[in-house]
Amino acid sequence: MSSGPPTHGQPMNGGEALIKSLELEGVDVMFGLPGGAILPVYDPIIDSPIRHILVRHEQGAGHMAEGYAHATGRPGVAMVTSGPAATNIVTPLCDAFMDSVPMVVITGQVPYAAIGTDAFQECDTTGITMPVTKHNYLISDARDIPRIVREAFHLATTGRPGPVLIDVPKDIVDPKNPRSALDWYWPDEVDLPGYHPPSKGEPEAIRKAAELILASERPVIYAGGGILKARAAEALRELAELCDIHVVTTLMARSAFPDTHPLALGMPGMHGNYTAITAMQQADLLIALGSRFDDRVTGRVGAFAPEAKIIHVDIDPAELGKVRRPDVGIAGDCRLVIEELIEALRELGGTPAQPDRSLWKSTISGWQETYPLTYEQSAPGELLKPQFVLETLRDNTPDDTILCSGVGQHQMWASQYWRFQHPYTWVNSGGLGTMGFSVPAAIGAKVGRPDRMVWAVDGDGCFQMTAQELVTASAERIPVKVAILNNAYLGMVRQWQEMFYEERYSEVYLSPDLPDYKMWAEAMGCVGMRVESPEEVLPAIEKANSINDRPVVIEFRTDASEKVFPMVPAGASNDDVLTFQSQFGENH
């Protein structure tokens, strides 16, 4: 099969056609785990150049495909069997749906004639996944396979990207079944009469947006994950520099704009930094580019950026006006629209036509000086501060390191304390907030970018959800590195219980030494280390960085009482952000 493309009309079975179609879509790697219903599709994999990575749990396959997609921009592919395997991959599908990650998932299904009979390992996979996929297919005829694979990749990667699932009944891929026979073809184009994603912006709206920008006194660019999806990081930078406008990067947009840039304000939102939050609150113009006014960014919507006019650019027209009505809404691809905007701004006279914004700029730098991100260093003999671990890791890894994280306090600190310099160096579960994301996502990222160093910053709670994929990483020689910030707690939940439930800690304690993370890592074929004091942090990181033939896990014992600040309590206005300074006094 691997000997070149088949000729049109060549007889083939559905399983072969499925794998051949993936090859023609440029798939170089897929993540999965076989079983009864998908067996016939696994057979031709032996003869295919596609690398298959055998996971230990199907959730791992899904997150690996996501990590691969985040890091490379190419669609991640996962393949699993029917029933329980399909349900195991629902979480990654939902995760990818929320974060607009291009992904194609193939699931096995019972033979077509058995559907609806409660056959062994039958599950209504398309029914279950309908609300968490951009689109899904149940194939009923082997002859549809090339067309549907082509459509699935087109849908996953164009417009607002997202996961697409293809459910494949066994009979249509089983060479022993006559229903699996087809004559090969490869459609030149896709025919989807109901699918017309926007691309360029409407010139009239672009001009209006440019006028608003040129007239504004306190503008802020509110960059979201759409910048990365549209591969618009460079265009964003050009726009910001042309108009000299500060940029906030949401959790999903981290790495889309260099944190070292003088116009970078960092992350806004519930755990954003004071300046990013407050600049948005006080802006007279928000230029929302590929962002969606998520509740974690806006705080109480009614109190969000009350004086700001809104320019909202998104490839998904349904995002325009969903949460906040824009003054100028532009449905279009972020990169194209920004380029058009830059042109329009130049035509209208560019920067010289803007009002004097020096007061606004000095206000911003004043906030930056008064409310920097900060924490209290640990006293000798005390447990490590998680922020210190992250700063040390940040300062001792290459600039283009890909950083993945789980969900919780460690995630927020990772996003806050890292200084991203290159796009696609942040791999994260934002919309769904999926604990257990980081280890498999890091593996997928490393598979896609073997040239890069890949670190996962994980919580002890998260790690226990998907750690088994380190067995996959060891077996497949995928040398990811994992830093567990072990605070012995479901720390983020503990923080909420401390702050909002009168320190009544209900079911959040995990224990620092059960499991023994070092032994567990070693049992999974990784190098395992445990770090308890500040002097050990750097040597352990340096040792991990020098290991390239297997995964490494460092367990950092961190201070459980440390909380993430700043914080906008859920439902509060962004005006009421709690900072380290407001909590612990200015003298710190």
């Binding site: 309908m130 149940l138 109901g194 699918y195 349904a318």
Partner: protein, 168 residues
């Protein structure tokens, strides 16, 4: 597709052209329930071209702005187009079947009502009759209200169907 502004009315009539494929109705219904939109009534059937079906739906826009409903519907890959039909621009029809108590003493009155509304008696029992009535939704509402005092033991109305009026 034009943007829709909510006109302040609670119920709106949407005519949605979809691909005639398995699962399309489930996608539409699933979208509405997942996004907490309300469907008031629904009718689906293939169009003049068997590749497509037309869904006529009456939606309750107090649950969400119409614009958001339309945009989310439009994102479904199998949805081709969505048109809002204003009552003035559309011919609307529903069908009603009703079983009503009609003992000898009142049977004449009930039959008279049926005749006034140009309904048809489709089934007759000792104490009850069954009537079918086709027409604009208001007319069916009126008929239903006038029958109610006699005792309705079962009623079934179809979802509304509608097509734009011809321009002449």
């Amino acid at each position: 597709m034009a943007a829709f502004e909510t006109s302040g009315e609670k119920l709106h009539l949407l005519s949605v052209l979809v691909e005639n494929k398995a699962g399309v109705l489930a996608r539409v219904a699933g979208l509405f329930s997942r996004r907490a939109f309300n469907i008031h009534s629904l009718a689906v059937a293939p169009t003049e071209d068997a590749k497509f079906s037309r869904i006529t739906m009456v939606v309750d826009v107090e649950s969400a702005p119409l614009e958001q409903m339309v945009k989310q519907l439009d994102k479904l890959i199998n949805v081709l187009s969505i048109t809002e039909l204003s009552p003035e621009q559309a011919i609307q029809r529903e069908l009603l079947l009703v079983t009503v108590d009609a003992e000898a003493a009142v049977r004449g009155q009930v039959i008279e009502l049926v005749q006034v509304f140009e309904g048809r008696i489709v089934n007759v029992g000792h104490e009850q009759i069954m009537v079918s009535l086709e027409g604009a939704p208001d007319k069916l509402d009126d008929f239903e209200n006038l029958l109610r005092p006699y005792g309705i033991s079962a009623i079934q109305r179809t979802g509304r169907i509608a097509l734009p009026r011809l321009h002449n």
